[in-house]
């Protein structure tokens, strides 16, 4: 059994791990405090801004964790076997991403004690209902996909084999569930036609969310792979990642055509050039997340460079994060009714506790990824599984 356990972290690595642990610990503390005293006392959320940092991150992280279904589809559905080495890491990224989503969601709920509510009480008209179910089921799928790594580690080949035998149905289920909820995250805003700014509200929003989650999944795979490899001092498979990057160009081109075409078609193009705060945010997310990745990934030299891959995939990631945050915050009108005498417009900036919990969870996830990769057969050199 080969693991990366023997590869001790460097001093810098230790410092990073210590910081991550500290941030995670602080996150746990503030998270518990939030659960005890309530949302009002700990967050800057209000009836004007019922959703803030946490929900913004949640919806972004779901896209990020799209790494799981994207790679699964690439490898198993499109049968592009060359990418199989990346499979386990992307499953881990997916699983940990969704775990983070669930933890934050729990903290954000008014009644975390009733998180199971959607299992019992159904409202199939609600996008969030569908998302909840899909996330629950998909996380289960991810857990099953992840299970072989654990069982391999603990030498249970029968179980591993059993799970492998249902790989294809699992992958199809996973990709299907992801298709549903990644797009339904867009539908979620479609239900808010009078609140969501015209630059984001469009009939094709579910499609845009779905497509961008694929682009994000590819970018996330590249990003995590490079970061993970660096953490363990292993060489990065630049050619493999370059292939993903090349593929993602077409995803982003498709995205751009759909979004641009929609804006032209619906006549909202004028708003794009209004250069108010919405249009400026629109430009930032589109340039960083879509246009620059297309342009830069088109250059073979960048695709062949570890740094180039890292930076450009990070851009795409940041762009999609922005897109999800914009849809959740920038694009949303204040939800609360106020009397005309109230002249100042309500505003929102997260409280330190919101940051603390958020980054705590992210740090914990990063730590979990690190230790999983260290202890379990995630990277190809540690995996038993052959081609």
């Amino acid at each position: 059994m080969t693991t990366l356990a023997m590869r001790k972290p460097s001093t810098t690595g230790k410092i990073v791990l210590a910081i991550l642990a500290l941030v995670a610990l602080l996150g746990v503390g503030t998270g518990i405090y939030r659960l005890v005293v309530g949302l009002g006392a700990t967050t800057n959320l209000s009836d004007a801004f019922p959703w803030g940092l946490w929900i913004g991150f949640d919806f972004s992280l779901i896209a990020f964790a799209g790494a799981g279904f994207t790679l699964a589809a690439v490898i198993y559905i499109l049968n592009l076997e060359q990418y199989r080495p990346l499979a386990r890491a992307s499953v881990l990224t997916g699983l940990l991403g969704y775990t983070a989503v669930l933890v934050i969601l729990l903290i954000d709920l008014g009644r975390p004690d009733r998180f199971w509510g959607f299992v019992v009480f159904w409202n199939y008209h609600s996008p969030l209902f569908e998302i909840s179910w899909c996330v629950l089921l998909y996380t289960t799928v991810l857990a099953l996909e992840f299970a072989p790594m654990l069982f391999e580690r603990f030498n249970k080949p029968n179980i591993v084999k059993a799970i492998h035998s249902i790989t294809i149905p699992l992958v199809i289920a996973g990709v299907t569930l992801s298709t549903l909820h990644q797009s339904t995250l867009g539908t979620l805003y479609l239900a808010l036609p009078n609140k969501t700014d015209q630059l984001w509200w469009t009939w094709v929003l579910p499609l845009l969310f779905y497509v961008s989650s694929i682009g994000m999944g590819l970018a996330a795979t590249i990003f995590v792979w490079i970061l993970g490899s660096k953490a363990f001092g292993r060489d990065v498979e630049v050619d493999l990642l370059g292939g993903l990057a090349k593929g993602s160009i077409w995803i982003w081109v498709f995205y751009l055509v759909v979004r641009g075409g929609d804006l032209l078609f619906t006549g909202d193009m004028a708003a794009v050039f209004a250069f108010d705060s919405q249009s400026i945010w629109f430009w930032i997310e589109t340039i960083i997340g879509v246009i620059l990745p297309i342009v830069l990934f088109s250059r073979a030299s960048i695709r062949a460079s570890q740094g180039g891959l890292f930076i450009v995939s990070l851009m795409a990631i940041v762009g999609v994060f922005m897109n999800r945050f914009n849809a959740t915050l920038t694009a949303q009108a204040v939800t609360q009714y106020t009397v005309p005498a109230v002249s100042e417009v309500a505003s929102y900036s997260p409280s330190w506790i919101e940051y603390s919990v958020q980054f705590g969870v992210l740090a914990a996830v990063a730590l979990a990824w690190y230790f999983a990769a260290r202890l379990l057969p995630i990277f190809p050199e540690t995996a038993k599984e052959g081609h």
């Binding site: 309530g38 949302l39 009002g40 006392a41 959320l45 009836d47 004007a48 019922p50 959703w51 589809a73 198993y76 559905i77 499109l78 049968n79 076997e81 709920l109 008014g110 009644r111 975390p112 004690d113 998180f115 509510g117 959607f118 009480f121 409202n123 199939y124 008209h125 609600s126 996008p127 969030l128 209902f129 569908e130 294809i168 992958v171 199809i172 990709v175 299907t176 298709t179 549903l180 797009s183 339904t184 539908t187 979620l188 479609l190 239900a191 808010l192 036609p193 009078n194 009939w203 579910p206 949303q332 204040v334 939800t335 609360q336 009714y337 106020t338 009397v339 005309p340 005498a341 109230v342």
Partner: protein, 257 residues
């Protein structure tokens, strides 16, 4: 038959008994407020304030009008909040009220976004917070009483009846005194229609009412959501098909190889 309330702003004297009646019947505590430079208070809906009368100084054609408008849950015919509620805690009853079943609620606050009128409010101050909003006094209605606010209104600016009756009554009043009203019945069409209907001496834009078309809030989303089974089947089909195709291709390649 669906219940409705007609709010005639030409009759409202801004006394705000409806505001207190709402607090009184629902045992809602007072909020700490301060002078906002106008009579309006509290400044917004909240977990403890489900209705607010707004005071509008509207100057039109050199004539200053002081128009008071009671705001509360509109009890939409096709409520956005009901459509988006993850757990179905909000429901539209056939009798009109959009009711909230607190025991179902998980506190996700999606309803706050789903409502175009800014109505559902969250209990931010509680460790385990829930949503609160106007109930249309559903308990009073069930026993045959008017809502607390309608009953309290001194000038019958609030009138309760079936939605059909209230719309005819609104038309009757506008036709009887066209000079007194701006002709629009707010809520007849807006957001697919609401159970609270307004007639006013000034255009509703002047009162800051949201300008909505006749489509229910969930019009677009429900088209997509209703397509979910199709998406599901299509996804499974396409994925299986692709798998089958690529598998066949690679097998062929292997065989060839």
């Amino acid at each position: 038959m669906s219940r409705a309330v007609l709010v005639d702003l030409t009759r409202c004297i801004g006394c705000r008994s409806c505001q207190v009646a709402c607090k009184s019947w629902n045992d809602n505590p007072a909020e700490q407020t301060k002078c906002l430079g106008a009579y309006d208070n509290p400044p917004s809906f909240s977990a403890d304030t489900w209705t607010v009368v707004q005071f509008n100084e509207v100057e039109q054609a050199d004539r200053l009008q002081w128009v008071f408008a009671k705001r509360q849950c509109m009890h939409c015919e096709h409520p956005g909040c009901v459509a988006v509620c993850t757990v179905g805690a909000l429901t539209k009853t056939p009798e009109g009220p959009v009711v909230y079943e607190a025991s179902r609620c998980i506190g996700c606050r999606y309803c706050q976004y789903g409502c175009p009128f800014g109505v559902p409010s969250f209990e931010w101050d509680k460790p385990l917070g829930l949503i609160r909003k106007c109930t249309f006094c559903v308990d009073r209605a069930e026993e045959g009483y008017e809502t607390a606010c309608v009953k309290a209104c001194p000038t019958d600016a609030l009138t309760m009846g079936t939605r059909h009756e209230m719309i005819s009554e609104a038309h009757r009043r506008i036709n009887a005194r066209p000079h007194k009203y701006h002709g629009h019945i707010y809520g007849e069409k807006e957001a697919g229609g609401t159970s609270w209907l307004y007639i006013s001496p000034v255009p509703f834009e002047e009162l800051g009412f949201p300008m909505l078309d006749g489509e229910p809030m969930d019009y677009a989303s429900s088209v997509i959501m209703n397509a979910t089974p199709v998406t599901l089947a299509a996804a499974v089909g396409v994925l299986s098909g692709l798998y089958w195709l690529t598998k066949k291709k690679s097998q062929a390649a292997e065989e060839e190889g």
